[in-house]
Amino acid sequence: MLCDDCGRHEAVVHITQIGPDGRVEKNLCESCAAGYSEFAGVPQQDKRHVSVDDFLRGIFNSANNVPTEENRGTNAAGELACPRCGMSYQDFSQTGKIGCAACYATFRQQLEPILRRIHGSSVHRGKIPHRSGGTLELKQNISLLQQQLKACVEQEEYEKAAELRDKIRAMKQELAAKEGGRENA
């Protein structure tokens, strides 16, 4: 087929334009299609996004194929599905997207190796929400102070170390009180 615009080259691009005269369909050659480049920009970006998803799909699939102990268990008991949104592991490998917050708990065992492959780690070390983070923030602060304490001892700054030690002790008491309180409740 020849290009509708120039009539000289082989048509390789099909476009649909919706304008004041209604729907116009055209078959264009590469150089004529370049004249419509403002439109061509969008699908190009699309392609990039898709490739990320493709990549994830691949990872999900390959992880699924490794017959680990857990995988066999779930497969034998039928497909494991998220109780809240109904997403199955198969869905992940098709969309590359997780369905809801509960999925992460449901598929934790399958997801962890994938996370390690994407990020090189599967443990969060960043910001913690004050309200829903529970005692985690306190725990993280304690381990931070413990690191500082170690550094102080190594540099023989004992006064500062003593200060830190008292702080850690107070925080640990606070933690114990909070956790104890929760158990009683």
Binding site: L56, K97, H124, I128
Partner: protein, 359 residues
């Protein structure tokens, strides 16, 4: 008010301010958050998406403590596709927010430095942008917004995996920090591909803002962190800033070499660009991007002094096709009409920014 935001060609974060602004245009922080008890947007039904919108709308007024002004909401469904595209050209929303407009919305400040996307890939995406190389300031702002939202909404969080997101590539911190760079020196000396190739080893991704691997009109690049889990936000932005500082040094070296060994050709290119932008009657999008890059380089190297540097950001925005179509209130302009309009805007902005050279 909403129309004024769409038509405004001054973006606060495109002003020539901030650290290293000869190379770094802007720094951006994006935080992804989700509500705990509602499926992520790709899995939620319309009713659930509506619930997210509703709950967020209730939490927004409290943000005034950070934004210092009430935020404006723009619902995607109520905007024409052209107006959505203008918001995207201004980097205020992403393409994915436009794709399925039902129950998708964006909250904006008048200065357009903070935007909050609702029901994009995640329920909430907080975006803060500032001019120049400064990741700490927008991160602080985004954290403050996150804290206020978290006080009112139950956010999906796991002790071990951090903030839960619809894509496992954002899991943990949910942080995407990005820096917008202008790299004409490295493009001209053909060193950009090295930087693009090295960056994955540093956990970073570089992509051109316009164009593809082969050609990058405008010489604008965005560099962002790829890893989100296992590092704190501070570590992630420190890593990014370290890489950017290195790139900035290389870019300056390349510019210095150009100014030293090819002075006449460089001056010629820069002044030709200035001349074309000042007088041309028809300007296609790609050509304008190339000319603007040279003009900016000329201003940064102090070769061109007759025009105030603020013009670059305005011209960059006024070079965008949807922005022009929206200004003209006509979606059916032909390519030639748009090129004419574009040239007209370039001439006007340069005229407005002329400064007298008497010193």
């Amino acid at each position: 008010m909403r129309e004024a935001i769409l038509q405004d060609n001054r973006l606060s974060w495109l002003q020539p301010e901030g650290a290293d602004n000869d190379v770094v245009l802007a720094s951006r922080i994006l935080l992804s958050r989700n509500l705990r008890d509602i499926p992520f947007p790709n899995r939620a039904d319309l009713h659930e998406l509506g619930k997210v919108e509703e709950r967020l709308a209730g939490a927004i007024p409290a943000l005034q403590a950070v934004t210092e002004e009430p935020m404006l909401v723009m619902e995607m469904e109520k905007l024409s596709p052209l107006k959505r595209e203008v918001l995207r050209e201004k980097q205020l929303i992403s393409e994915r927010l436009m794709r399925s407009p039902q129950h998708r919305a964006v909250y904006l400040t008048k200065k357009q430095d903070i935007s909050l996307m609702v029901n994009e890939d995640d329920h909430i995406r907080i975006q803060c942008i500032t001019a120049g190389l400064d990741l700490a300031k927008p991160l602080k702002k985004a954290f403050a917004i996150d804290d206020i939202l978290e006080e009112q909404l139950d956010i999906a969080f796991d002790e071990k995996m951090g903030y839960l997101t619809s894509s496992p590539t954002n899991l943990g911190t949910g942080l995407r920090a990005a820096v917008l760079l202008h790299l004409p020196g490295l493009v001209f000396t053909r060193n950009v591909s090295n930087i693009i190739n090295i960056s994955p080893q540093l956990g970073l991704a570089v992509r051109p803002l316009f164009g593809d691997e082969k050609e990058q009109p405008g010489c604008l690049f965005q560099i962002a962190n790829q890893l989100t889990l296992g590092y704190s936000e501070q570590e992630l932005i420190d890593n990014l800033r370290g890489a950017v500082t290195e790139i900035v040094a290389h870019e300056r070296r390349a510019r210095k070499a150009l100014a030293l060994y090819m002075k006449e050709r460089l001056e010629d290119e820069v002044w030709r660009a200035f001349g074309t932008l000042s007088y041309a009657r028809l300007l296609p999008e790609k050509e304008v991007l190339e000319l603007l890059s040279r003009l900016r380089l000329g201003m940064d190297l102090k070769l061109i002094r007759g025009v105030a540097p603020e013009c670059y950001g305005q011209m960059l925005l006024a070079s965008r096709t949807s922005f022009l179509q929206n200004l003209a209130a006509n979606e059916n302009l032909s390519k030639a009409e748009i090129d004419r309009l574009r040239a007209q805007h370039m001439r006007r902005i340069i005229e407005e920014h002329q400064v007298s050279l008497e010193e």
